[in-house]
Point group: C2
Chain length 346, copies 2
DNA sequence: ATGAAAGCGCTAACAC
DNA sequence: GTGTTAGCGCTTTCAT
């Protein structure tokens, strides 16, 4: 299709019988220049008549700001697209951005594409700043971008780097989950991680689990921990392995609801019942958690807020009125459903 | 933070000792003007030295194209953000767009915000075209945009409007599901829709269900259909109601896996077993479907392809080499798991 | 083979 | 109050 002819401010000015400048002032509601009400109306009417829309590209050209933030997704598809997490983050992000007149450019980075150079987003001025989810510590592009002073906010933490971030209090959440189990009377508590320990969130959840154990005077037993990998399938295998150890743990903390789904199935296949034979507590509180069998007790992750806060932090940095707190840790809370019970008397 | 100083093509030209024009030619690989290898190298070296990045805004200004497509989400949050559908569509969309050098601007439209005027996206030239998911037939903004000739592709259909679209073959999929049940020997088959019938997809799935029934000489019985509303909760209620009718249906087609989750729970609460007491077949094949209890037999919806095809159609229209087929219907297929069995001998 | 110059549509400083 | 004008950084035609 042919490029549609643009109506410019010039056209509006001509029709209204004024200059381009006046049009610009009227349409941007510039009050300094006091413009007669009559002129105002003429301009507004002309704009309406011609169906005039100011050209965002031209405006960006001259203002130097795009009013767009980039959302870079630096995660594997199974992690990012298979769980119910991303949509909510994106939702929070978009709403916070929209509220301040910003748009969101979505940029997933396929993992099999090493040199995507998403730094071009800001270097070529497609966006004013970047929110990056799932930072990897070996991400050269990211580090350079930060050195160059690009406005950047991470969702998820990166150890030893001073980039502003928003994250969930993984340690606190994991501690809470484990304490809950302990308080129910469990002493032999397994752990299935949400992901390999190279992921910060995973290491942190393990750490919270240990803390709770140790605070209760329980020994950390490495034979009771297994490693998930984002997927239900990985949870199935991890739980199957855990069901081999003797004595059996009476409860398991699965640090991801999605992974817990597989664990649930493994337990069913083993002919065991939840929570009477074994208790299970998850992490994330995916929207479906309450409809599993049994409804899953879990730690609620404020996904929407994660996106919202990240956007707020970035936008504040962009408007630069004052220094932003360099990071924010979001609290979790426990959602009690039906997958945990006191251990069997043995 | 202060606006970072931009390195312009002028700077590169100066350092390389050539003109701006030459820089542009070298960097854009314009071959018409044959430029000496020596000059080329000088320019490239200078650009590298200065860490030069061409300004996308300026380029858009002069080329008249943004190389951005808008993804407008015209759906309620519970529909869009609570299921596993959106991320996959978005993934397909982005990959198809990226492959052709396009970026994706994400624009969700909160339902409580009637006058969002997303048409501004194209009118103000934030984007070259729009992919809109979940069109509503009363969307004035959409219709006007189409009349104005804006490049537009829908995900989901709109009756009586000739806007290009990509959609799933809902009728075929629903027929397939119902036929499968019939073929297992069921004669009394209930339906729980995915949403109110004002949603095209919902009406179509109902239609496919009817077709299969009638083709098999089975009467359509209105007392066997109930209406879901995207959520597990609605599925719970619909199934609970269905379990009151006598004689009980021996199988139910739930036209959404998410809704089926609630149906599953209602059946459990009624003390019935799946599939021995009642068979259940879903629709969508959410990633978790195989890990439910029992693993859910369902109709696979090619969500990734939906996004991919929509992008392909839009981009083809933008490059306008030739007329694009105005629509595309994507096939579904049945994924057999363990939630269906022949009816009990009664 | 290289350079000069004309815009793209807008904003904003400055003049009248 | 309103108009004139100078760019923003780039692409691209036309001279040289």
């Amino acid at each position: 299709m042919a490029t549609r002819k643009r109506v410019t401010a010039q056209d509006v000015a001509r029709l209204a019988g004024v200059s381009r400048t006046t049009v610009s002032f009227v349409l941007n509601n510039v009050t300094d220049m006091r413009i007669s009400e009559e002129t105002r109306q003429k301009v507004l009417e002309a704009a309406r008549l011609l169906n005039y829309h100011p050209d965002a590209v031209a405006r960006r050209m001259v203002t130097g700001r795009t009013r767009v933030v980039g959302f870079v997704l630096r995660q594997s598809p199974e992690q990012a697209f298979a769980d119910l997490f991303l949509p909510q983050v994106l939702n929070g992000l978009s709403q916070a951005a929209a509220r301040q007149g910003y748009q969101v450019l979505f940029e997933p980075i396929p993992p099999d594409q090493p040199n995507t150079m998403y730094s071009r987003l800001v270097n070529e001025r497609h966006v004013d700043g970047i929110i990056l989810s799932g930072p990897r510590f070996d991400d050269e592009d990211l580090l350079r971008l930060h050195r160059e002073g690009a406005p950047l906010v991470l969702i998820g933490r990166l150890p030893d780097v001073e980039i502003p971030y928003v994250d969930v209090d993984n340690i606190g959440g994991a501690r809470m989950a484990t304490e809950y189990l302990i308080q129910k009377g469990h002493r032999r508590i397994g752990l299935i991680t949400n992901a390999p320990l190279s992921y910060t969130a995973s290491a942190e959840r393990l750490s919270g689990y240990r803390q709770a154990l140790e605070a209760a005077g329980l020994a950390f037993d490495e034979t009771l921990v297994r490693y998930g990998n984002f997927t239900p399938h990985s949870g199935y295998q991890a739980m199957a392995a855990l069901l081999q150890v003797r004595p059996l743990p009476t409860a398991v903390f699965v640090a991801s609801d999605t992974v817990a789904l597989g664990a649930l199935q493994a337990i069913r296949h083993a002919g065991l019942r939840i929570p009477s034979d074994i208790s299970l507590i998850g992490f994330d509180d995916i929207p479906l958690a309450g409809f599993l069998d049994p409804p899953l007790t879990t730690i609620h992750l404020p996904a929407f807020n994660l996106g919202w806060e990240a956007a707020e932090m970035l936008l504040q940095r962009l408007s630069a009125e004052e220094a932003t707190p360099p990071y924010r840790l979001l609290a979790t809370h426990l959602v009690e459903r039906e997958s945990c019970a006191p251990p069997r008397k043995s």
